[in-house]
């Protein structure tokens, strides 16, 4: 089963054709119900993505701690999620200036403004959404024509028109249209849930009726509300936009919706925005039929100074017959193992890449689904249910998503020597470059003076 979604870039008239191919369905009823499968997603000029797989989650256009050369050399990741709210702040001293990202000049090496502004290597596909993952809930709420987003300088409205215009300028490979979400753990009452579906439905109609939407592959949001609340919206997707090939994929905020997806939507790639907290949850969501994951836990785990250590299937653990005892990672704020965040990120991304490669191997095996469920249960038994608590100090300057942390403090001591730059250039906020763990032992350094 193959679907080709050709679309035409109006400006350069180069086709931005995304291709998603289901290589193997594991369940017999795959034509009517979502379930685990093997797939292959390709975009012109980008690394192909074998699914199930994960993509990197960026912060302000960066895969945290990784410079573009390190992304190219050390990451197997094929795509990166970017959020528009990371780029559209209004600085107090110059609130009228348009966001600089929109005018970023492109080149053959960095062919879209999104790649060019962020220096994201062109081998990495870009997926644009409005909000960070996970998104901070806004006190303002959304309107009929806009959602509230949280930028570096505070909350501001983002209209459907502005978002579509941003997409048409930035030319992400894949875009997720706006959804009316509460971004809260509290389930919305049915009145609110219905309105979420109605607004999202209206917005998708506006989206597809604009020629601007053809510059990107569209992954329509699937709301985290019950099927009965959004069935009309989902019907519209399958009836109006699958036949026209305008719809390229689905972006699910809750994997629980997977069993309810209408059959015509099942051939589309399924991207998860639900931020599963552990590899156990990832495995469960694969059973339900997710193809591509955004996994913010990789960044938070690295920031916490934890080196991931798990594999799929779980390797037999000869040292113990007890269950659930293998830690998912090691807290590196212990003396011998302290590494920089950069190396931790490279390591943790590599562990997760291998984890998905293991998943695909099992799914591709002869006994596919049965084998996968067996290995999944083995994994659940072998590993602890959660990551170890990290002790490393978090990067305090990461900024605004940790609202209580805020900015750093100005340096206390002025350098005694003169400086070259403009007065005061050395002052201000420092970007921390290493996790500063609790102070470690003086192992091997100097001698302990014996106490008399």
């Amino acid at each position: 089963m193959t679907i080709d979604i050709p679309s035409q870039d109006p400006e350069s008239s180069t086709p931005t054709a995304m291709r998603f191919e289901v290589l193997k369905n594991l369940a017999k009823d795959a034509a009517t119900t979502a379930s685990s499968r093997l797939g292959h997603l390709s975009l012109p000029g980008r690394r192909p993505l074998e699914t199930p797989n994960y993509i990197g989650v960026t912060s302000r256009g960066c895969l945290p701690h990784l410079t573009p050369d390190n992304v190219t050399k050390h990451l197997q990741t094929s795509a990166a999620y970017m959020s528009l709210e990371d780029f559209i702040e209004k600085p107090q001293q110059n609130s009228a200036r348009p966001p600089p990202i929109f005018a970023a000049p492109t080149s053959s090496k960095l062919p879209t403004p999104l790649h060019a502004f962020t220096a994201m290597p062109s081998s990495i596909a870009t997926i644009l959404g409005a909000r960070r993952i996970p998104a901070v809930a806004s006190p303002m709420g959304n309107t009929n024509k806009s959602i509230s987003v949280f930028t570096n300088t505070g909350f501001q409205p983002l209209t459907t028109t502005d978002y579509l215009s941003a997409v048409s300028t930035l030319k992400p490979d894949i875009s997720i249209p706006l959804a009316d979400l509460t971004n809260s753990n509290i389930t919305p009452n049915s009145k609110r849930a219905l309105r979420m579906a109605e607004r999202t439905d209206e917005w998708i109609v506006d989206w597809f009726s604009s020629p601007d939407s053809s510059a990107t592959a569209t992954f329509a949001p699937v709301l985290p509300v019950s099927y009965s609340m959004q069935w009309e919206y989902l019907s519209r997707l399958s009836e109006d936009y699958v036949p026209t090939s305008q719809l390229s994929g689905l972006a699910l905020y809750d994997p629980a919706l997977l069993p309810d997806l209408p059959a015509p939507l099942l051939s589309l790639p399924r991207l998860s925005l639900s931020a599963p907290a552990t590899p156990h949850q990832v495995l469960q969501h694969i059973s339900l039929g997710i193809d591509i994951f955004t996994l913010p836990f990789i960044n938070t785990i690295s920031d916490a100074g934890i080196a991931l250590d798990f594999s799929f299937p779980a390797s037999p653990n000869p040292s113990s017959s007890a269950e659930g005892i293998l830690p998912l990672g090691t807290d590196l704020s212990s003396p011998e193992e302290m590494l920089g965040w950069t190396l931790l990120q490279i390591h943790n991304h590599s562990i997760v890449s291998q984890f998905f490669a293991g998943i695909r191997r099992v799914l591709g095996g002869e006994a596919g689904e049965e084998e996968f469920e067996k290995a999944r249960n083995g994994f659940l038994r072998a590993y602890e249910a959660d990551f170890p608590a990290g002790h490393a100090e978090r990067p305090r300057a990461r900024g605004y998503q940790y609202k209580s942390v805020g900015g750093g403090e100005p340096k206390k001591n002025k350098p005694a020597w003169g400086k070259l730059g403009p007065e005061g250039s050395e002052e201000g906020v420092e970007t921390p470059v290493v996790p500063e763990g609790k102070e470690v032992e003086e192992k091997g350094f100097a001698e302990n003076v014996p106490k008399e």
Partner: protein
């Protein structure tokens, strides 16, 4: 005609060299006006060209760069802190893996400090006695002691190509002359203990450190004592503190005058570009400083036109490179091999927000410093170093009246008048 004259002067210089057990110093060029020298230093992990800037590559400074990124800046000799390596991974691990080169995946040269200065500056409670540096463990408050012997043992375990003696460091502005003299004399005695304790002189070079504060007579006495002990290289220590720059230049000039011609001279802890080029003119060869990497974390880019703070709003929509015509991976033209296509706008977007901005500025700043020394060296070899100095200061300051007087005076002392038309 001018080019012919340059070639004649350059070719007139006869290379001379001197070898110690684990080091060869080959002098390949000398400025005919100033005391600047160009040389090749051959160390156990390869050759490096002097003058050289050595970035500090442990823990808090370069940790965001991978060894291959550091290599990509052209760096072939970097500094590691003994204090940090002694803590993590610790001496046992270093012995087990065969030293810091292997531990860090760095196949080029390493220089280590003694660990003493880090302790005095990091742990305010350090206390120096004849035996060594005493301090309280930051972990459990128990008393610890770093002796010259233990410093050598640690640096032997690290396996650095250049190791530094443990010295008694005081800030140059220390008011007590008697204490300053005691520190200078103790540093000489500690050098003897370091030489006696050094296990691998055939594969690691121990450098002495000239002390004596701002007292030129004390510095001269220290030079004589240290030079008599014939270490493969010589460092000028205790600077980079709160002293006036005129005093700094006087100390460097006084020492280089007395030091043997065919040994490398290392001025410890300096890194501002003007300090480097003036020190080169005064006859120094090697420098280290955390400033280029530290200042990167504050969003500062070092350029030929001075330090630019990328956090300033003026860079928000500036799509040019950090510095025009810079050859670093961030700045080189996008179509070139390995070019990353980094704009000032992107650095501005993430300065003090994402570590990636600091890593990219670090790449640029380290490249700038290495390249500055490389260009100084080329100028020395071509015997056009005075012209290089003039170009350098003209790049930094639009008006000659803004030139720092200490630099003008120091360079006048070696025959270059920056202010002449």
């Amino acid at each position: 005609m001018w080019a012919t004259a340059t070639r004649r002067m350059a070719s007139a210089f006869q290379p001379k060299s001197h070898s110690s057990a684990a080091l060869t110093f080959e002098l390949v060029g000398k400025c005919s006006t100033t005391r600047a020298r160009a040389s090749i230093l051959t160390l156990p992990h390869g050759q490096v060209n002097l003058p050289i800037f050595m970035p500090v590559a442990t823990q808090a400074s370069l940790k965001g760069l991978t060894p291959e990124q550091l290599e990509g800046t052209g760096c072939r000799l970097c500094l590691n802190n003994t204090y940090h390596l002694g803590l993590k991974p610790g001496q046992e691990v270093l012995d087990a893996v065969g030293g810091a080169h292997k531990f860090q995946g760095w196949n080029h040269n390493l220089l280590t400090d003694s660990g003493g200065f880090q302790m005095v500056s990091l742990l305010k409670l350090a206390n120096v006695t004849e035996e060594g540096v005493r301090f309280l463990s930051p972990h459990d408050g128990s008393p610890m002691l770093l002796t010259p012997e233990h410093s050598m043992s640690l640096q032997n375990s690290i396996g650095s190509d250049i190791m530094m003696q443990l010295d008694d460091v005081l800030v140059t502005t220390h008011p007590d002359k008697a204490r300053m003299k005691e520190a200078m004399e103790r540093s000489v005695r500690w050098l003897d203990r370091c030489i006696a304790a050094h296990k691998y002189p055939e594969r690691q070079n121990l450098f002495c450190i000239i002390q004596g504060g701002l007292d030129l007579e004390m510095r001269r006495e220290c030079c004589r004592e240290m030079v008599a002990r014939d270490t493969p290289g010589i460092a000028i220590g205790g600077l980079s503190g709160g002293e006036a720059k005129d005093d700094f230049c006087r100390v460097v000039a006084t020492c280089t005058e007395l030091l043997p011609e065919l040994k490398p001279r290392y001025v410890m802890g300096i890194g501002y570009p003007e300090d480097l080029v003036v020190s080169v003119a005064l006859g120094a060869d090697m420098f280290d400083c955390v400033w280029p990497t530290r200042t990167a974390r504050f969003g500062n880019a070092i350029t030929k036109h001075g330090v630019l703070n990328m956090k300033r709003e003026v860079y928000a929509a500036d799509y040019g490179p950090i510095e025009d015509n810079c050859g670093c991976p961030c700045c080189r033209p996008i179509e070139e091999e390995g070019a990353l296509g980094i704009t000032r706008a992107f650095i501005h977007h993430n300065a003090a927000k994402e570590t990636v901005a600091a890593h990219l500025l670090t790449l640029h700043n380290v490249w700038y410093q290495l390249n500055l020394m490389g260009r100084a060296r080329d100028a020395i070899v071509a015997d056009r170093f005075p012209a290089f100095l003039k170009e350098f200061f003209a790049g930094l300051y639009a008006n000659k009246k803004d030139y720092p007087s200490w630099a003008v005076d120091a360079l006048r002392g070696v025959g270059v008048d920056l202010l002449e038309i």
